[in-house]
Amino acid sequence: MSNYLLAWIVLIPFVSSVILGISYLYSIKVKKISNKFFTFLALLAPMSSFVLGVGFFFGLKNGVSEYLYEPYTWLGVDNYIINMGFLGDKLSIFMVLFITFIGSMIHIYAAGYMKEDEGYGKFFAYFNLFVASMLLLVLANSPLIMFIGWEGVGLCSYLLIGFYFSEPLNVVAGNKAFIANRVGDFGFLVGILFLFVYVGKLGFSYGALEEYVGIVPNHILVIIGVSLFIGAMGKSAQIPLYVWLPDAMAGPTPVSALIHAATMVTAGVYMVARFHFIYDLIPSVGVFIAYIGAFSALYAAIIAMRQTDIKKILAYSTISQLGYMFIAVGLGAYSSGLFHVFTHAFFKALLFMGAGAIIIALHHEQNIFKMGGLRKRLPLIYIVMLVANLAISGIPPFAGFFSKDEILLKAYEHQEYLIYGIGLFTAALTSYYMFRFFFVTFEGKNYISKNLEPISASMKIPLVILAIGATFSGFVGLPEVFGGTNMIHQWLSNWSVDSTHVENFKEIVLMGISVAAGLIGIAVAYVKFFKYDFNQDIKESGIIYNKFYIDELIDFLIIRRVRQISVFVSVVVDDGIIDKTVMLLSSGFINLGRRVGRMQSANTRAYAFFMLIGLSSFSLYLIFKLG
């Protein structure tokens, strides 16, 4: 594979999105264009990128260390040169592969999901723009270029969340997402700038940074690490910047599947892995990250237990799963984290798409307690959702088991027993709330009489494919215990630190414990909800249900205050003080003039007297002058 094709991986979706956008505007302004055209363009892009990605994959497999393509100097001031560059190493190609794969799946799914929507073309324009930005994010070879993609995905999520912009709520959610991301980006930018100031002049590609990062003083390095992680918090919805993700469910379901499950939210994890050469030098920050991850996982899981909106449940589960990934990368087990990213992409996309199918089938009903008994009526969905649930609950042999268990193992190996405990507990919670949702939806008694919307084939196919993926993708990282060779670790050998490895027996015990945790959760859910009938409806209140009132708190503490300050500044300070002063000066002068005007009294004698005063002052002056 020749290097310049790297650029095309990004360019193809970008170009297609531009074409889509223009032709969409054309179709609404001038004459209608059929959806087939849009579908063709839209699906072409991620698939062809995927093909290219595969090509590079094999290239790397056959021993090419890395691909690098730098078409032009993006910005060159003084001795700070930044090239527009694309780096295809094992990590980025790994990301490219699953982004484009999952992306294509979701494209196919969306083609069915959105087919009635009049914004069809626009949707895919945004979608491909998103894919392009995401690919740029992972393929960039310097933080600044990465930042272009970084903000690009933020923008796309804004656009897609606010896709139905006529309703205020969606747009507000979009704004919330964008601003929260911006807060993160602020941190990210600060981090980049610090790096730039300290090592920028020696080159600003990852390679150069990795080479010279040593010259950065340690305390600065800590600042950099933390600020970069703040960026990750924003993108990957960790405490405290997670607030946007649940609201982001306002967007169409494929959006949630693509952005808020499979790809964008994992950007933070990728970023930390990408900057591993920094975090390796500052393990303390790593531990901090791990703790943030752990608490996010726990916190989100707790909230998810009481949610009734199907997509909200999934959203919180996403946050929780991302927490796991950050535990891993925080502890330096980047490959494990990325492994979880990989598996999670499958089952979470699957979950969302299944949920989407249910929502479509039930005429946009999202409250799980208004569903029930869907097992018989949507068998396919039932099966795939079962797979997905088992996967996320970490039941072997499904994908989630291997990755999650490996993360817990790493936590244990690092003697971070608290994190391990939290992880374990969260695992139990996870399986509980997932199966709560599962049982209620599929086994629940409140039979919905109204006939169901049929689900098109283009939605079913990707479901099946992903279900298979969710089942078997875990075996890619089969632990040595089971005689497997952990391919992920081999592939990402630069990003996998081999810490003190526990002996096999202990490892198996730990596995057993985590599986048990999962099973306990399922059992509880089974007891509570399997035979659940709904004479009394679920109580929708309580601190957990209201997400610990965090949104209200933010609104009260920050947003309102800022608005008050704004009014104060513009009304009191500007108009009240500054402008008033200016005006007073002028009017004061005019009034002074009016007073002085009295002297023009048209009284001849007064004038004469005035002259006399002048005369005498002159003579006095002369007397002094001449002595």
Binding site: R598, T604, A608
Partner: protein, 105 residues
């Protein structure tokens, strides 16, 4: 008896001051006018004295010219006074305040 040069000058100065004070203090326009004439004539006196002092006729000639000018001024002055009286029916100089500045505080 011989009156000294300075005393003429002093007289002239006194007359001049009277003139000025008259212009400022008196309300009757005729008296104002007379005070002006008084000032002029005090200067004439001064000039004549000077010409006597220097022993040439320049001062006298100047005085002549001044008187001529004064006559011209007198003409215009009186005509204006007449016009003003017709309009204002007053010879109090303070009554002529049509042109007072408006809009003052």
């Amino acid at each position: 008896m011989e009156v000294s040069f300075m005393s003429y000058i002093l007289l002239a100065i006194i007359l001049f001051s009277m003139g000025i004070i008259g212009v400022i203090s008196r309300k009757n326009i005729f008296i104002v006018y007379m005070s002006l004439e008084l000032m002029l004539n005090s200067i004439n006196l001064m000039l004549v004295t000077l010409s006597k002092h220097f022993g040439n006729m320049d001062g006298q000639i100047m005085a002549m010219m001044v008187i001529a000018i004064a006559a011209a001024e007198a003409a215009i002055f009186l005509s204006l006074i007449v016009a003003l009286y017709k309009l204002k029916h007053s010879i109090n100089i303070d009554d002529y305040n049509t042109l007072k500045q408006k809009g003052t505080l």
